[in-house]
């Protein structure tokens, strides 16, 4: 029996670590996606932001966020209480002393592997923000916001659902984080976009919407594929254990459905773009894949593969329309992250009751509303404080020359583009 427990624990830990590594890989995905969709002169800076935000997320979550989100014993179901650093690893003797049914209520994998899996999720949430405020927000104020979001805002709302807080008690259902991760990131992004304003030249005086095309679409495509691969870890790991037949079936179902939703999103976005815009706009197709993935994230287990495809497809339609709509109301999001993670995230939450009878539409809407409002208010306040202290936006001249030179002192492609450094 002890040998069985050893193997179970080891298998589930390996599974969890592999899934976590896949999610970590999403950091590269966001970096490439965003670097591909900004203009060449703003590429170094967005890369620097992405590398740095991942790092800050990991440090802040280790220092305080993880305990906030998964408190030993919470003060109440709204406020977890604060404590620092990580707890001790599971003691082998204790682990091996459990018997039979006790097992799954105890610790069935390494505590460190749980932290690893969780920490890469935080980074994902923050990565969503960088793309939306790209090409005009200053580097250091952005990183200051990152400290607050990853150390506090994300973990607190995360506690409400995944840490056993009031959203969980209420029956709110969010398997892998359409709300907890994606809507959170998108809402923080929305707050940032509001406060930093649109890129210069994006909206003409005459009400015209101008395009500022991304510089490197293969990179954006690569980023999307990386995210897609990473999502198998994101959703697949959220089953948490794999070590018996039912769990293994569940993980496999999650893999299949995650993929199905992505392909549904691709085809739907491709067709929607063709119909609405008259062209097979690759950037919309990429957004469609991601929207499909976000849509299924709230419930990747229960749907049949066909249903998962359709849920993803609806996400793919939504995202194209949302990108166009946000542009109309002058919310300037260079990479479409608010549409992909926010709008499709809400759709994902709302779609849960279709296949999961334990969820109710009302609770799902309540959950979405709570996350949205809390993150919006908390983010707005944070952005405003940072703005008052340091300013959020580069000068007009710096924006013209590109933030790569003004913020990082380096061009991303010094030999490929005309030198934009001087007027």
């Amino acid at each position: 029996m002890e040998e069985i427990l050893n193997l179970k624990y080891a298998l589930d830990t390996l599974y969890f670590l592999m899934m976590g590594a896949f999610v970590m890989w999403m950091a590269a995905g966001f970096s490439m996606l965003e670097a591909g969709l900004v203009r060449a002169k703003n590429t170094t800076e967005i890369l620097t932001k992405n590398v740095a935000l991942y790092s800050i997320a990991c440090i802040m979550y280790m220092l305080v966020g993880y305990n906030l989100m998964y408190p030993g014993d919470a003060v109440n179901s709204f406020w977890p209480g604060i404590s620092f650093l990580l707890g001790a690893e599971n003691d082998p003797a204790t682990v091996l002393s459990v018997t039979g049914d006790e097992w799954y209520s105890g610790s069935y994998y390494s505590g460190r592997s749980d932290f690893f899996f969780q920490v890469v999720f935080v980074a994902t949430a923050m990565s969503i923000v960088s793309g939306s405020v790209a090409e005009r927000m200053k580097l250091w104020p952005f990183l200051a916001f990152c400290v607050v979001l990853t150390g506090f805002i994300y973990p607190i709302q995360g506690f409400w659902k995944w840490g056993g807080g009031f959203l969980d008690a209420m029956g709110f259902s969010d398997f892998a984080g359409s709300g907890v991760v994606h809507l959170t990131g998108a809402t923080a992004a929305l707050a940032g976009v509001w406060l930093v304003g649109a890129r210069k030249g994006k909206y003409g005086k005459d009400g015209k919407i101008h395009a500022l095309p991304g510089a490197n679409l293969p990179l954006a495509t690569l980023g999307t594929f990386i995210l897609w691969l990473g999502w198998f870890g994101f959703n697949g790991g959220s089953e948490l254990v794999i070590s018996n037949v039912s769990e293994a079936n569940a993980v496999a179902a999650v893999f299949v459905n995650t993929n199905a939703a992505a392909v549904g999103g691709v085809i739907a976005a491709l067709l929607t773009a063709k119909v609405v815009l008259g062209r097979a706009d690759l950037t919309m197709v990429l957004n469609g894949a991601l929207a499909g993935l976000v849509s299924i994230t709230a419930e990747p287990l229960m749907p049949s593969p066909l249903t998962a495809t359709l849920i993803g497809a609806v996400g793919g339609v939504i995202v194209v329309l949302s990108v166009l709509a946000l542009d109309r109301i002058r919310i300037d999001d260079p990479v479409g992250a608010i549409s992909v993670h926010g709008v499709a995230g809400i759709w994902g939450l709302v779609a849960v009751p279709i296949t999961n009878s334990d969820a109710s539409l009302l609770t799902q809407l309540t959950g979405a509303g709570v996350i949205f409002l809390f993150v919006l208010v908390a983010s707005l306040i944070t952005w405003m404080v940072i703005k008052a202290l340091f300013g959020l936006r580069v000068s007009e001249e710096e924006e013209y020359r590109g933030v790569d030179v003004s913020e990082c002192g380096l061009e991303a492609y010094p030999e490929f583009t005309k030198n934009p450094k001087t007027q």
């Binding site: 380096l410 005309k418 934009p420 001087t422 007027q423």
Partner: protein, 112 residues
Amino acid sequence: MRLVSAVIKPFRLDDVRDALSAIGVKGMTVTEVKGFGRQKGHTELYRGAEYAVDFLPKVKLEVAISTDLVDQAIEAISSAAKTGKIGDGKIFVFDIDQAVRIRTGETGTDAL
């Protein structure tokens, strides 16, 4: 006929084009060039090492026009391109011997 050739700051190109259109100029040709002059380049750092950016990005605009339009064109370019800061650029005027529109074979000012 004259060729008015102006080296200007790149971000003024659209303004200059509009100013020329306003006085009836129908066509022009634009080249990306690098300029060296009183406006000095600067030094960048990459991994702690320096590199000099001696040549600055400029745009060269060439407009063939009839001789009587030259002063207006100079005026239009000057006011649209001027920022008052060093490096605003120069205008040079050349004599054109002959002009041909390839599509129609028209020559002289008709070709412009």
